[in-house]
């Protein structure tokens, strides 16, 4: 166990990556995630690694694609419009089954949008992101400590499944300072990387590719990927519940919003409203089972998001009609207050 240090979220994510063995970082500046490439440019070369500022997000994600294929632990980071540009490379990385970590410090959109915190990239992160049948594992930290832990774990999960893993925060997670501890959570039973392109010395050559001109072969490949995602659904679901024991209403919220909801729940409970929280930590795989089971207990659900309503669709699918699911959202970079959430709760309860 290391000692606690006070760090800004973005920088802590960078340090976590280095501690997790990330040797290569390719990125492009975009607000509000710039502290990550800046931190990596200071720290990585000193650790014997490589930082490279690419000419664009498109190039950066394709550099990640090359470096991942070459066997490196590699990361890139960006914010919403930049992630859209990276999506091309990410589809190829997923198609070719390569591991890498992508950090998205989400800002408001669509288009150029704004630079304030939002959760409006939920669809993009969890519903395929780019062309083709593929999924990312998506972690949604709600504190700087959790951002650190999940970033470290992301590298192992990426290696374990040979799949890109996204750590999705927002400007609040990226910019706020909190004490963090860098725990050694690495696993050592990861599969050997015998598929990399490093020059075919003493072995048959390797080819990293996602082209299948024969539709039957591509279908076979896509079902193979799908079986992998099913396995991820079985093994990698993470969530937190609080105050659910006697709850009549369950709020579903993730990331920064979930922190604000926790304050709202304290206030609401002081006013006699029995409300609990289900906080998805993985957005894919989505904790649908715990939400479905909660539907046998609570009367209603309220999903709170910094978007016009994206995760609420997954909550409704998980609840599967058992109970009503209401939605409250602020968007465009507006952060909901605990008071507004309590007001919404009162409406939901009535």
């Amino acid at each position: 166990m290391g000692e606690k240090v006070l760090m800004k979220g973005n920088e802590a994510i960078g340090e976590a990556a280095i501690k997790a063995g990330c040797t290569h970082f390719f990125g492009y500046p975009i607000t509000p995630q710039n502290d990550i490439p800046e931190y990596m440019s200071r720290r990585l070369p000193k650790e014997g690694g490589v930082f490279l500022q690419a000419e664009s997000e498109v190039a950066a994600s394709n550099m990640v694609y090359g470096a991942a294929g070459a066997g490196a632990r590699v990361m890139t980071s960006s914010s919403s419009p930049g992630i859209s540009l990276k999506a091309e490379g990410i589809s190829y990385i997923a198609g070719a089954e390569l591991p890498c970590v992508i950090v998205n410090i989400v800002r408001g959109g669509p288009g150029l949008g704004g630079i304030q915190p939002a959760q409006s990239d939920y669809f993009q992160a969890t519903k395929g992101m780019a062309h083709g049948d593929f999924r990312l594992v998506v972690f949604a930290p709600s504190s700087v400590q959790e951002a650190v832990d999940l970033t470290m774990e992301a590298f192992d999960v990426a290696d374990k499944y040979r799949n890109p893993v996204m750590v999705m925060g927002d400007g609040i997670i990226g910019q706020m300072m909190e004490p963090v501890e860098f725990k050694d959570i690495g696993t050592d039973d990861l599969p050997e990387k015998d598929w990399i392109t490093d020059g075919a010395e003493g072995r048959d050559r390797n080819v990293i590719n996602s082209l299948y001109l024969d539709p039957e072969k591509l279908e076979e490949h896509n079902w193979k990927l799908d079986r992998k995602y099913e396995k991820i659904k079985e093994e990698e679901v993470k969530y937190e519940t609080s105050n659910m024991e006697d709850a009549d209403v369950a709020i579903v919220a993730y990331g920064t919003t979930a922190r604000i909801v926790k304050t709202a729940i304290k206030k609401a409970r002081a006013e006699g409203i029995k409300v609990g929280l289900i906080r998805p930590i993985t957005l894919f795989p989505f904790p649908e089972k715990v939400i479905n089971e909660a539907a046998d207990q609570v009367d209603k659900f309220l999903t709170v998001e910094m978007s016009t309503g994206q995760m609420v669709e997954d909550v409704r699918l998980a609840v599967n009609g058992k109970k009503p699911v209401e939605f409250y959202g602020r968007t465009g970079g507006v952060v909901p207050t605990p008071e507004e959430i309590v007001e919404q709760l009162k409406e939901v309860v009535e």
């Binding site: 040797t23 290569h24 390719f26 490589v50 490279l52 690419a54 000419e55 664009s56 498109v58 190039a59 950066a60 394709n62 550099m63 990640v64 694609y65 090359g66 470096a67 991942a68 294929g69 070459a70 066997g71 490196a72 590699v74 091309e88 490379g89 190829y92 070719a96 392109t197 490093d198 020059g199 075919a200 010395e201 003493g202 050559r205 390797n206 080819v207 990293i208 590719n209 996602s210 082209l211």
Partner: protein, 248 residues
């Protein structure tokens, strides 16, 4: 019986899929011969492109990494930064390198990225069916320039070698052609030098190979060679390119 000639070790036994008269096969062979001669078969990572040579990974018997349209220099950058002691090459056509991938090639060259790029210029999009390329000549007909390329509308046929040679990171750039045995020999010499430059760590190296596309030009293989000589050679001058000037 003693075998006196055959495919280079660095090519697989797989038969090329290229059209009759297409010169990809010649260039593939030259690249493979150079890899063999430098004994780099187990130290080379190739980056395959999109376009007609998208299946290059089936032909080069070395570690290969497929790239998306235009991004081969970025993918190669990622690979090279992980394995700086290995030989990394990209193989790209004119649609790939001179259009959708302009940013990637310019910046890889400008960084002096120690990779070798083989740039096949046949002045047309091949695989997608004969559309206009950035390298399509003035007046040349293509499916998206049916009346011939109009400079006023479509801009000028881009001289990639001249452009890239202006960048400080570009250590070696030569334009060659595979229209004659003499020029094929020169092409091999250039490819060799491009790999040497990479190995010596001098910077970015590129060989632009003027090539044919009988299918999409709508001519016979023999006429294609003649068309290249009569139309491409005057615009795309052969030789080493230094500071935007061909050293003839």
């Amino acid at each position: 019986m003693e075998k006196v000639a055959g495919r280079p070790d660095s090519l697989t036994d797989k038969e090329f899929h290229y059209c009759p008269g297409c010169t990809h096969g010649i260039v593939h062979r030259l690249v493979a011969e150079v890899i063999d001669e430098f004994d780099l078969k187990e130290e080379t990572i190739g980056v395959a492109p999109v376009g007609c040579s998208v299946l290059a990974y089936d032909y080069f018997d070395v570690d290969m990494h497929e790239a998306s349209h235009g991004r081969a220099p970025a993918v190669a950058t990622g690979i090279k930064r992980v394995h700086p002691d290995k030989a990394v090459f990209t193989y790209q056509g004119d649609g790939d390198l001179a259009s959708i991938g302009t940013a990637e090639i310019v910046h890889a060259a400008n960084r002096g990225e120690e990779i070798t790029t083989i740039f096949i210029n046949n002045a047309i999009y091949g695989m997608t069916g004969g559309q206009m390329a950035p390298t399509t000549l003035e007046g040349q007909k293509a499916t998206t320039s049916p009346y011939g390329r109009d400079l006023g509308e479509a801009g000028h046929p881009i001289k990639v070698s001249e452009m890239l040679s202006k960048l400080d990171g570009a250590a070696y750039i030569e334009r060659v052609s595979v229209d004659s045995p003499k020029n094929i020999k020169q092409t091999k010499k250039a490819i060799k030098k491009a790999f040497e430059v990479q190995q010596s760590g001098e910077g970015f190296a590129m060989v632009e190979v003027l090539s044919t596309c009988p299918t999409n030009w709508g001519v016979s293989p023999v006429e294609a060679i003649e068309w290249l000589q009569e139309n491409m050679l005057p615009h795309y001058k052969l030789g080493e390119v230094v500071d935007g000037e061909v050293q003839g």
